[in-house]
């Protein structure tokens, strides 16, 4: 290929590249604005009565190691927004979250979701647990259990629990207490999901503890 040939092609390609750059940067700045609005709500709450998300979930989306509140950093924005709307409509029940979600306008829900999604989750040190427990959790996560008729969690939640965006949340690094609690909610039918209903019912209590312990220690690909 000659130098002229390359130049000619480059010249042809340039106007298109320019157009792409313009439209990309427009889209990006809209997203940035929204994320900034999200950050503000997370830090300050809204005038409509939504308290600052940071109070429980942290400004960095890490919450704390107690697992009373989930880690949100890096969670998929569509998933987070869907959960907020579910709290607002009452399809997902939670006395704390319901009034907060109701205090957010539609665009604010998306903004908050985008803000938390833009953060990188970090892994906090876990309490030591028996290696056997984590091993059992890993077995359930990666293979499932034929006798319990439970498929591998990672069939939907992705390798190492890294999630399957947009619909399926990541579990890697999520606090075990929170995972455990959510499985119990699915089990009791308080939190509703057709996909989770049966596995949550079929797992035995020690299995739930095991799988939660495994995912808390799993490392999400790409997590910094």
């Amino acid at each position: 290929m000659t130098r002229n040939h390359i130049l000619r092609n480059t010249a042809l390609a340039l106007p298109f590249a320019g157009a792409l750059l313009v439209s990309f940067s427009t889209a990006q700045s809209a997203a940035t604005d929204s994320t900034q609005l999200g950050a503000q709500i997370v830090a300050q709450g809204t005038a409509n009565g939504a308290i600052a998300c940071a109070r429980c979930h942290g400004f960095d989306g890490q919450a704390d190691g107690s697992g009373a509140f989930p880690k949100l950093a890096g969670q998929f924005p569509q998933y987070l927004a869907k959960q907020l709307r579910a709290y607002a409509s009452g399809t997902r029940q939670n006395a704390l979250m319901e009034p907060i979600a109701k205090g957010l306008k539609d665009a604010e829900i998306d903004s908050v979701a985008q803000y938390y999604a833009s953060l990188h989750p970090s892994t906090l040190p876990s309490r030591p647990v028996a290696a056997q427990l984590v091993a059992r959790g890993e077995q359930l996560a990666k293979l499932g259990d034929l006798n319990l008729r439970v498929q591998a969690c990672e069939s939907c939640h992705g390798p190492n629990g890294q999630g399957e965006p947009p619909a399926v949340p990541y579990l890697a690094g999520q606090y075990s207490h929170y995972i455990n609690f959510q499985i119990q909610m699915f089990r009791q039918g308080i939190r509703k999901s057709q996909q989770m209903q049966d596995p949550a019912h079929s797992l035995r209590e020690p299995d739930i503890v095991a799988v939660a312990a495994y995912f808390e220690r799993a490392s999400r690909n790409g997590a910094k």
């Binding site: 499932g144 498929q151 939907c156 049966d198």
Partner: protein, 587 residues
């Protein structure tokens, strides 16, 4: 010298849907049942779990779940006068192997046949006269009617948890279902699947043209479902890995998810995998089976005596086993004497790719094996053929069963087969092409049949099955007519390019069409033209029953599994309520 094992009551050859259901029913009566399966044991956990199961190269391209052609192939020819050659890899159709059989890797399309299908000869001749049937065609009645099978269809559908909406409840037409279906006695156990975007576009166009679109019946669950055996299935996630794959979610009805766990718990049942049955043994009279001989994975031969033998392998292998065992007289197309191998039929498939505008994003990868939108207006004998010069028809289905990256790249005619232009065309059309699938009747013909190959043998030294098949002219005329009708719907959908691809002859084994191989051990009321009586019992050896799609005298438009399920429970009932009390011919 084969080692002779302790006698059992029942030997089941092939543990798929038919084998596992019949074994379950008989073991529950207290009989000792042995299931012989040539393939491996496999279960939802660990064998079907992601990500390993989503290996398109292994399972789709290299046919990971299919019969091993290096050990057991088949030979093929189009015409009786030709020399058949072995198929060295599976392409046109895919005989499964392993525990669960084809029930593991099927799409879950769970249809019923029409009332007229079971009385096909009578019905066609009454409606159109004898002249409409080409001289070489050999259509037949089943000897069992839809009305008789209805309760057994129902039972099978509730076992599987079939998802759909009734269109005809006891003769009353229901909104939202298929108004052209045969009457059913109750609603489907589960609601229909989600409609794909392509299916929604098709629904609108088909409705505009006066047709009756509906969501196809599916054995991929739409909600958690506990079947009458107490086994719970999970909802499908529309991952697009049904056909040729096992389901990791316990969402697709398969022997593993709907019946095997119950069967395996019964101590009266023993499963022996990697057990290759060589023949069914007959006594000196040739009228009674004494058991089977099989070889295990170490090459040790065993004789397993049994008082009842159930042949429930893949349709083609059932026919071969009868021929290898000398049960029933082999069919000769020249003299038309003999029955085993007679009326081999297939499925007359065609496709209509509809290339849509680039702003229509179909996301066809969000699919299940049976999530298509269908019209039944041109199926079987659902329309008037008086002036058409052929019998039979196709259902027209729009919707994807997958859109997997290796196999699915639709390009319009004239696109180069490789290189930059090909890649550009794939990029342009991948997400904007709806492919219609037309599943058509296959009419049995005098010259289409199965027998043993005179030359080629398998790894155990036994003759291979030889298939002689080409599409009858009648079926090609039928395909042309219905494919043209389907193209009109595609144009109505606003497709920029519509490719009208009716099925053309000759039949070739080198491109996938369908694994609906039917006939060869057909059901009927006359021993001169059928292998089994109306209870799937062989005429010649009353303690051998054959249950499979090999029983179908000709094939209808629909996927055969639902009807096979009805035959399985129908036969189970005949065995339990009549045969066991008084072993002998049921007719």
């Amino acid at each position: 010298m084969p080692q002779t094992l302790k006698e059992v009551d029942v030997v089941v050859i092939g543990v798929g849907f038919a084998g596992s259901i019949l074994a379950k029913e008989l073991a529950a009566t207290g009989l000792k049942v042995v299931g012989l399966e040539r393939g491996h044991t496999r279960h939802s956990v660990p064998d079907f779990q992601a990500p390993a199961i989503h290996d398109e190269l292994k399972y789709s391209v290299r046919k990971g779940m299919m019969q091993d052609v290096t050990r057991e192939a088949m030979t093929f020819r189009n015409q009786h006068r030709e020399v058949a050659l072995p198929m060295r890899q599976w392409e046109a159709f895919l005989p499964g192997t392993g525990l669960g059989g084809c029930g593991v890797h099927w799409n879950g399309q769970a249809w019923r046949y029409q009332v007229a299908d079971f009385i096909y000869k009578t019905h066609i001749e009454q409606r159109y006269g004898k002249k409409i049937v080409d001289p070489d065609l050999r259509i037949q009645d089943w000897g069992v009617t839809y009305q008789e099978l209805e309760p057994y269809y129902d039972r099978f559908e509730y076992l599987l948890g079939v998802c759909g909406k009734a269109g005809n409840l006891n003769g009353k037409i229901e909104q939202g279902g298929n108004p052209l279906e045969a009457p059913r006695s109750r609603e489907y156990p589960n609601p229909p699947m989600k409609e794909q975007y392509a299916g929604a576009l098709f629904r609108k166009a088909a409705t505009d043209l006066g047709y009756h679109p509906f969501l196809q019946p599916s054995a991929n669950m739409t909600r958690p479902y506990t079947n009458p055996e107490g086994l719970t299935l999970n909802p499908c996630v529309y991952c697009g890995f049904c056909e040729r794959y096992g389901c990791e979610h316990f969402a697709k009805a398969s022997p593993q998810t709907v019946i095997l766990p119950v069967l395996m718990k019964n101590p009266n049942f023993e499963l022996r995998t990697e057990s290759q049955v060589l023949r069914i043994n007959l006594d000196s009279s040739g009228k009674k089976a004494t058991g089977v001989n099989y070889m295990d994975a170490q090459g040790r031969e065993f004789e397993q005596p049994a008082s009842l033998v159930l042949l429930t392998a893949f349709a083609l292998n059932d026919v071969r086993m009868l021929l290898l065992s000398g049960i029933g007289k082999p069919y000769d197309p020249v003299t038309e004497k003999g029955v085993v191998g007679r009326n081999y039929a297939y499925q007359t498939q065609s496709y209509v790719p509809a290339f849509l505008k680039e702003d229509i994003h179909l996301n066809s990868f969000m699919a299940a094996g049976a999530s298509g939108t269908v019209i039944d207006d041109f199926s079987a004998d659902n329309f008037d053929h008086s002036a058409l010069g052929f019998i039979g028809g196709c259902y027209v289905l729009c919707g994807s069963t997958n859109a997997r990256p290796i196999e699915f790249h639709p390009t319009p005619p004239g696109t180069p087969r490789w290189g930059r232009q090909w890649k550009e065309a794939v990029r342009r059309h991948y997400n904007h092409t709806a492919v219609f699938n037309l599943s058509g009747t296959s009419t049995a013909s005098r010259w289409n049949y199965l027998d043993l190959d005179p030359t080629y043998r398998d790894a155990w030294g036994l003759p291979l099955l030889r298939m002689t098949f080409d599409f009858p002219e009648n079926d090609l005329r039928m395909s042309r007519y219905v494919t043209n009708k389907a193209s009109e719907i595609a144009r109505r959908m606003g497709a920029t390019t519509v490719v009208d691809e009716p099925r053309t002859g000759p039949f070739t084994t080198t491109t996938y069409q369908s694994t609906h191989n039917t006939g060869g051990a057909i059901i009927g009321s006359d021993p001169a033209t059928s292998v089994v009586n109306r209870y799937c019992q062989t005429w010649d050896v009353p303690n051998v029953f054959v249950v499979g799609a090999c029983n179908y005298p000709q094939n209808s438009s629909y996927n055969p599994t639902g009807t096979l399920g009805a035959l399985i429970y129908w036969t189970a009932d005949a065995l339990k309520s009549r045969y066991l009390k008084n072993p002998g011919p049921l007719v």
